[in-house]
Amino acid sequence: MPAKASTRLGLAHALRDAAITGLIAFGLFLPLIGFNTVQNIHNELILETRWPLLATLVAVIAAGRFAYSLLIAAWGDRPISGPRRARKLTGWVSHLTSRITPAVLAFAILYPALALWLTGSQGAVKWIDNFGVQILIYVMLGWGLNIVVGLAGLLDLGYVAFYAVGAYAYALLATTFGLSFWILLPVAGCAAAFWGIMLGFPVLRLRGDYLAIVTLAFGEIIRLVLINWVPVTNGYAGISSIPRPTFFGIPFNATDEGFAARFGLEFSPIYRILFLYYLILSLALITAAMTVRLRRLPLGRAWEALREDEIACRSLGINTTNTKLTAFAMGAMFAGFGGSFFASRQGFISPESFTFMESAVILAIVVLGGMGSLLGVAIAAVLMIGGTEIMRELDFLKMVFGSDFDPTQYRMLLFGFGMVLLMIWRPRGLIGTRHPSILLHSGEPRTLFPRARNPAVAAPLQPEPGA
């Protein structure tokens, strides 16, 4: 029987696979895990062997590979990410996207109420501030970077520089001149946009890897200036006692002039947190609305065209210089807004908040989410930032692994693991489908699976609705 034969073949194949994997794991882990150096009481370095641990690890890896290979065999010869499967999935995802967006929006608006209801006034502060506000900052930064990387296709590794410009612009102007948050928000945005253009000019001719290197350097330059220009930025010590945002002039404090007293409420820090939450939510939604709008305008289409083929753009009379600079400026502006929000929320900023790691995280959010997809970027931000915060909460793991176990230490490991998985299963990001900015045949109902995938079906001309 052919089916049985193929199963036996699959079993043999899986066994061979598992053996090879186990061998590789053994070779790799022998020096790393098999041997351990410890100091004894006489301060002598002695070599210990950990054979049981090594054997367990190798066995686990080999067994995992065996199960995986067998699973593939059981699924038949279908490749995991064959075009057919990908297409099917793509259709589903694009269908779901249009349904999910209102639900996600409603959840984002109702989230603080939900947190208050479930955890009470005290517990909700953590859930709204550490989770809600923190995630939304990264959602906004992701959406801002999405304009530069996702739409215009300009790989920017120094995005955090504009975030820093926005934060320092707010911090310096607010502490020196005492200007309010609402005046400084657009000022910080403009300052960041200005630096976006400043970065844009020298890199106009660069593309891809070269552009990435220069933007990376730019991010470092800004950070080093912030560290070394001590008279202005106060160096490593940073800027403290930055004014908090006010409710249109009414501060959130316990005085008689404060928000709670004015509105006849009992004082609680929760009001300020709620205000911050809805502030960053509106800033993020403005970013999203702008992106959606711009994509349907000639500027947005020119950005996407630039990503697809710059030379073709020039042959169509598009001024690529201006197009690139507007993309840099627009992306930087939203980072500037985010930066000034960050500074006013923290009340203290220092160059340590603006390291390359931040740029990498924001870029990872955009890439994982699917370049150009707003919902995908939001989901990726929730997973990455929310995931980090969740790990601080996993205290029960201490009971399993001992009291000195800190789950947050494993953040990068899990992050890398997730990235590898995603690159295997969804190489174009969580939501990798692109929605056309305009449809000619909008009169016809949107089908679950995009029409005209099969050329034989697509060939006959459809009668034009209304033409």
Partner: protein, 281 residues
């Protein structure tokens, strides 16, 4: 045009007349595409002049004056004169209205067919959207301009028979359809001169014949002159009014298809032997 020590195109002078289909032919490496890149502003010629005149022909008399003045454009009434070698690539299309296609198709593969045609109308739409400001604010003037642009795209989609695939990514189209779309996209910029770099490359005999009809129809219905590079002699001889032959960066012949067919230098350049027969094409 000189690249370091290589003199790619030299001693070349020819005219592509209004409403003519002019073909630029020559063996591989003769410098045809270099000439195209110079005309469309992708290369800056190291020396020489490329002038384009549109509208009132009277303005042509001022060519020398314009050259000496050092500026790049001159407008007199309805006439306009452009010195293309002084303009950056995007202005050649935007102001002088010279559009081009590429030897290896350069569509925006991830964008839909309709979006490709709308990107080609970028400059007009950009003005209508108040350089994005009115567009973001949702002014009705932009909505009107956009539907006009879609109408124009619709016209070209109908012409190239791709109406049913308007919402599909351009990269998914078959090769021949991509070629037609690239020409339609160039036409959406409303050019006075359309430069086609090997439009028949990779097309079968049937498609090549259709291409010839398509180009003739474009010339007849739109005030567009055509300059094309082509190796397929059946296309070249069938549709051109005027042929320029290039070899080793120099012009070796210039004339009607009949003249070129019997020109001894051309035959020598193509076949390397003076005595051989002209290939039956």
């Amino acid at each position: 045009m000189r690249f370091g020590g290589l003199l790619a195109v030299t001693d070349l002078s020819f005219t592509a007349s209004r409403n003519d289909i002019t073909a630029l032919i020559g063996p591989n490496g003769a410098g045809k595409t270099t000439v195209f890149n110079c005309i469309t502003g992708f290369y800056k010629p190291t020396e020489g002049r490329i002038a384009l005149q549109s509208g009132d022909a009277q303005v042509w008399d001022e060519l020398e004056a314009l050259t000496d003045r050092g500026t790049r454009t001159l407008h007199r009434g309805t006439g306009a004169l452009f010195l293309l070698e002084r303009m950056p690539d995007y202005l050649v299309t935007q102001k002088a209205r010279v559009a081009r296609t590429f030897q290896n198709i350069r569509l925006f593969p991830g964008m839909t067919v309709l979006e490709n045609l709308l990107v080609a109308q970028h400059n007009g739409l950009m003005r209508a959207s108040g350089f994005t400001i009115f567009g973001v604010l949702g002014f009705p003037s932009y909505a009107r301009a956009e539907s006009a642009a879609v109408e124009k795209a619709r016209y070209w989609l109908d012409r190239i028979g791709l109406m049913g695939r308007a919402d599909d990514p351009a990269g998914d189209l078959p090769y021949g359809a991509q070629r037609r779309l690239e020409i339609a996209r160039a036409m959406c910029t409303e050019p006075v001169l359309l430069c086609l770099d090997e439009p028949a490359a990779g097309l079968n005999a049937n498609e090549s014949a259709e291409l010839g009809d398509y180009l003739r129809a474009i010339r007849a219905e739109h005030a567009t002159s055509i300059l094309l590079i082509e190796h397929d002699m059946s296309v070249v001889m069938g549709i051109s009014d005027h042929i320029v032959v290039l070899d080793h960066g120099q012009k070796i012949a210039d004339g009607s298809p009949e003249d070129i067919r019997s020109d001894a230098t051309v035959i020598a350049a193509y076949l390397g032997v003076e005595e051989s027969e002209i290939p039956e094409t």
